[in-house]
Homo-oligomer: 211 residues x 2
DNA sequence: TGGAATACATTCAGTTTCGTATGTATAATT
DNA sequence: AATTATACATACGAAACTGAATGTATTCCA
C-alpha cells in the first residue's frame, strides 16, 4: 500500500484538514485520533506515520496558516505608504478581510482561542501565540514613532502608549468578533468603522479640527 | 457518615476550590473527577452528590466569582461621579486591581480563557462569556452618551463608536495581561498608564490642548 | 529486477474515565 | 425513639483512547 510522494503529501494534507474540522467541532482534547482518521478516510496508522502525536498534528495545523499570514505581516513591515497610520489601518482591515474570506484561517483561530487547553504539551504553544503579538507590538511602536516623526500623529500622544493601545484594541476586536461569529453568523459591519475610528482618533488633523 | 448542613456546604466549597486548582493546572478536559476528589480530600461519590457532572462543577466555579464582580458592575452602573469618563477609568482600574489581588478571580479567568474547550455541553458556557461583554458594551454606550451630553467627551467623537473601541480595548488588555502573567509573573505597570491614556484620548480637554 | 525502505492498515494490551448502583453511618424529623 | 432522608464512600461494568507492535503491498533505488 505504498503511495507515491505526491500521494503521500496529499494524505498528510487531508489528515491536517480533517484534524482542523474535528478540532473545531469537538475540541482538541475530545478529538480522538481515531475520529480524525475516520474524517480523513484513513486509519490511525496513517496519522501516527505522519505525526508523533496529537500535539504535533496541532502544530502542523497551526503552521499551515502562516502562508496566509505572512503577506499581511509583510504589508505591515514595509514602509511604502506616506502615512504610517494608513499602514496600520490597512493591516487591520486586511486581517479582518482574511478572516472573513478564508474559512481555514478563521477555523484555526477559533480552535486556538476556544477549543484548546494550553496545558502540558500544549503549554508551549501558548508562546507561539504570545510571540506574534509581541512582534506586532514592536512593529506598532516603530510605525507610531514614524508617524510622530512625519507629523501624522497628534502631537500630545506618546507613540509607545499608542502601540499598547492598538495592540489591545486589535486583540479585543478579533476576540469579540470571533465570539459574535460563533454565536450568530452576522457580518458585523461596524467592525470596519470601529477600526477606522480607532486610527482616526490618533490622527493629527481630525475631521473637524481644522487648525 | 452524614454531615451537618454547615459541614456539607464546607465540602461543597472545598470541591469547587479543588476543581479550580485542578482545572488551572491540568485543563478542564484532562482533569478527571477522580483527581478533583483527591485534591479535595473526598471521593468521586461526594462530587456526584453535589454536582451532576463536570460541566455543572465548572458552572459552579464560574458563578463563584460573581460575588467579586458584582460590586465592580455596580460601580459602573451608578452615576455618582460628575465626569462619566472617570467612571470608566475607575472601573477598568478596579478590574485590574481585583485581578491582581484576588488569585481566585485570576485563576478562574485563566481557566475560562486558556484551559477550557467550548464544545458540546460547554458551548452554552460561551454565552455566559458573551453576555457580560454585551452588558458592558450597553453600559459603555450609556456612559459615553452621558459624557457627550455633559461635554466631557471630545465633540467630534461618536459615543457608540467609542463604546465599541473601549470594549475591544478592555477585552484586549485583559487577554494580553493574563498571557503575560502566564508566561512570566511580572507586574506589568504600564497597563494602568495604558488605561489612563485610553480614556484621556477621549477627553475634551487633552493635557496640552488648553483651548 | 530484486531488495530495501516506505506508507500505511490491522491488531493488541493496557490505562483511564465515566456513570451508576449499592452500602452505610449519621443527622434530621416526627 | 424509631424512622427517614442525607451525605457521602465503595464497588462495578462498560466504553474510549493511546502507543506500540506487527503485517503488507508497493515504490523507489541500485
Amino acid at each position: 500500500m505504498r503511495k507515491t510522494k505526491a500521494e503521500t503529501e496529499q494524505t498528510r494534507v487531508e489528515i491536517i484538514d480533517a484534524a482542523r474540522r474535528a478540532f473545531h467541532k469537538f475540541g482538541v482534547s475530545r478529538t480522538s485520533l481515531e475520529k480524525v482518521a475516520q474524517m480523513a478516510g484513513v486509519t490511525r496508522g496513517a496519522i501516527y506515520w505522519h505525526f508523533d502525536n496529537k500535539a504535533m498534528l496541532f502544530n502542523a495545523l497551526r503552521d499551515q496558516i502562516q502562508t496566509t499570514l505572512n503577506p499581511l505581516d509583510a504589508g505591515l513591515t514595509s514602509d511604502d505608504t506616506p502615512d504610517p497610520l494608513d499602514t496600520i489601518e490597512k493591516f487591520l482591515l486586511g486581517f479582518i478581510d482574511a478572516m472573513e474570506n478564508n474559512p481555514l484561517l478563521r477555523q484555526t483561530f477559533e480552535i486556538m482561542m476556544w477549543r484548546c487547553e494550553y496545558v502540558n504539551e500544549f503549554a508551549s504553544v501558548l508562546y507561539e501565540i504570545v510571540r506574534p503579538r509581541h512582534d506586532f507590538l514592536s512593529e506598532l511602536k516603530i510605525i507610531y514613532a514614524r508617524a510622530a516623526d512625519r507629523g501624522f500623529l497628534r502631537p500630545t500622544l506618546d507613540p509607545e502608549a499608542m502601540a499598547y493601545d492598538t495592540l489591545s484594541f486589535t486583540t479585543g476586536i478579533i476576540h469579540n468578533w470571533l465570539i459574535a461569529l460563533g454565536s450568530a453568523h452576522e457580518h458585523c459591519p461596524q467592525i470596519r468603522a470601529s477600526i477606522h475610528s480607532h486610527v482616526a482618533l490618533r490622527r493629527r488633523d481630525a475631521i473637524s479640527e481644522t487648525d
